[in-house]
Symmetry: C2
Subunit: 428 residues, 2 copies
């Protein structure tokens, strides 16, 4: 049978894994799709660079356009990263009727609707399983596995770097700075870690999951984000004492026809399945009206896990190619986008305050919560170990995001509060 020819944009970590799988599992793959799959051309930054795999030099080019314009090539796998230039490549490839497999979360979160629309116009497939949670087939699961259900909540540990950092801080009592440095040395964190630690990477992935889960066109700007750079080992120790683990959670939740998506460090009760997801692993917890609680766990990044998802998408494209049905199964998000007001988003909160150690302080503070209708699940006042302040540790019942905001604003004006030390969402 006529082989299917594939062009690869990028031969970094994931690209290398893709070559390994396509070559190593060639027999298995061709049994499934009915013909050989050949990686015909590969665009790289530098042809001369040393690589851990052998690739025919004749297949390499430093010009991505050469791959995109090759009329022999049916499918483009994009694993080079980047946004604006890469979008241009992908749009041109689609224009030429080529199908796309991409691992590019930034592109899909920022310009997903544009490239998906172009793909539909040209009756091309564009698959992006590897863009979220590496080897976990969560995109397929949301599109196909739960096509019948109404998803009400998606909670994800979708950034391995921050989960590695928080796990180490929790297990070893180490500081954020120490563990970040270790993560950088191990290659788990970039030299500029901003995108990971400030939650931006997780927010992009949550925008993609929200779009699929709620079948509505979620954009990055719809996601509220706060990162982990201010989480201290003291906070984590408090969390553990109360029976929680600290996790950077992306939480997409729907009430009626409105939804909200928030990424923030969250105290997760130890019994919750997400609490024991450790190290660089990822997990996505999905709640559907009919299916109830589910969770999907696996490696969120890395050469081979991510390549598994890329090549599974390639198999899907080639099967569609054989059947002549590429681009015909895409679902355009059909639900209008309505973001919930902060008045309608409820969660529990952990609040740690440093206050003057004198009579009546606790009364004034609890009075503020009462004023804004936030009821409290537990309150502990204790002397601080290192300075003359007292510490007040409060866990609220479910409170609206808006009310909590007002409470915290009010606290800024209270002279008895020396410092709002930490505020975290609490789940489970």
């Amino acid at each position: 049978m006529k082989p299917v020819k594939v062009g690869l944009l990028g031969l970094g970590t994931v690209g290398t894994g893709v070559v390994r799988i396509v070559e190593g599992n060639q027999e298995d793959l061709s049994r499934q799709v009915g013909s050989p799959i050949i990686i015909e051309k590969i665009a790289v930054k530098n042809i001369e660079k040393y690589r851990s795999i052998e690739v025919e030099t004749a297949k390499l080019t430093e010009d991505p356009w050469e791959v995109i314009r090759d009329p022999e090539i049916d499918v483009i796998i994009e694993v080079m990263g980047g946004v604006d230039q890469t979008k241009e490549y992908i749009l041109e490839a689609l224009e030429r009727g080529k199908h796309i497999v991409t691992a590019n979360k930034d592109l899909m979160a920022l310009h997903g609707s544009e490239v998906l629309a172009k793909a539909q116009e040209k009756q091309c497939d564009i698959f992006y399983e590897a863009s979220v949670a590496g080897g976990i087939p969560i995109i397929r699961t949301l599109i196909e596995g739960f096509s019948s259900d109404r998803i009400t909540r998606i909670m994800g540990i979708v950034n391995g770097t921050t989960n590695f950092i928080l796990t180490k801080m929790s297990q070893e009592g180490a500081s954020y700075e120490e563990v970040l440095k270790e993560a950088q040395e191990l290659g788990y964190a970039e030299s500029d870690p901003t995108s990971d630690v400030e939650g931006l990477d997780a927010a992009r992935k949550m925008a993609i999951l929200g779009t699929l889960g709620f079948r509505s066109n979620v954009e990055l700007k719809d996601v509220s984000v706060s990162g982990i750079s201010k989480v201290t080992s003291e906070d984590i120790a408090f969390a553990k004492k109360l029976g929680y683990e600290m996790k950077l959670l992306g939480i997409a939740e729907r009430q009626g026809d409105e939804f909200t998506i928030n990424v923030q460090p969250t105290m997760v009760r130890k019994q919750h399945p997400l609490a024991s997801v450790n190290g660089v692993f990822n997990a996505v917890y999905v709640h559907g009206e009919a299916v109830g609680e589910t969770m999907f766990y696996g490696a969120g990044a890395g050469e081979m896990p991510t390549a598994t998802s890329v090549v599974a998408d390639l198999v899907a494209v080639v099967k569609n190619l054989k059947l002549g049905v590429n681009g015909l199964k895409a679902i355009v998000p059909y639900n209008p986008k309505k973001i919930s007001n902060d008045e309608d988003v409820y969660f529990k909160n952990f609040v740690l305050l440093h206050v003057d150690d004198k009579a009546g302080v606790l009364a004034r503070i609890t009075q503020v919560f009462a004023e804004f209708d936030v009821s409290l699940a537990s309150v502990v006042q204790q002397p601080n170990e290192v300075n003359p302040d007292a510490e007040i540790i409060i866990v609220t019942h479910l409170a609206s995001k808006a009310s909590m905001k007002k409470v915290l604003e009010h606290f800024e004006t209270l002279d008895v509060i020396r410092r709002i030390k930490s505020v975290y969402r609490v789940e489970g």
Copy 2:
């Protein structure tokens, strides 16, 4: 657009859920498939029976053939259960060019290859996501999500009844008999619980998962089975003391081109993701050469979770119908079936012996292990609390199934051993 008409065989727990979802999510479903989906006819045992949902009496029939022979019906959903008679219905429906969605693990485990061949011959779809692990889309995951990978190991908690029993025994220290009775009262166990507690139900599901994971035609007879009816609360207490939870695990594992599938009560180390899967929940742990460790968790049974999978399959059938590609994506298992010899299957073991409390006994017992080349990770001898015997608790290193069999056979002949109290596989 012309509606797609569906015939339903069975209106028990799952069938009721299917009606609820198809009616309740009609708008969402028709957005995805491009036309309404109508449940046209329903075969039931007794038309007069009280039901928790309203169904037009005109749609009901007590004759399944009436549904199967209706030329208006495109898709048959089989949720009536049973094997021989049901197979006849399904084969006849396929003969008439109708597509099948079934939740019937017994049928698929016993006659899967026959009905799949018939479906291929007639270019019909037959999907069976709901047959394993209820609401968890594990079948899709193995077929599509991991199409690119070589699966080396599948470990499943795929029977909710036994997981409920073992969880209760572990959490409350209750006896097997007490908890079984409670499970029966709650409707989690049948009045004749044999199929669940003796591991047969799990074996059927593992035969299905093994077929998909190893792309080889696994039959029920290829699965070795032992159930939980001999597990005592004492055994579970021992497991916990050593850092394990007792679970009924189905384990399908591959070495080279050979595989083995075993269902047995297993001590799972507490840190393993399967150890904290409790109650009626199911989970399937999958290890692939490229993707590494993954786990999929959710409700293994119940009206709505199982119906979620059934209706997701229905959506897939209808999408294929619109594209005219039904039956064209099926993969016939292409790997020849080679079952590993017991000499080549290695795992750790827990052994609890009651022995004479006198000098030299431990030496004789450890001598037997040495003779058959089984090395020991830990050995503890202690007096039994209620009788004059001593207890010896042994955990082995990895040992071949064949060697362990010989050790245990030899133990039967040793006069110093009063009783081989328990033997369990150990994982993690």
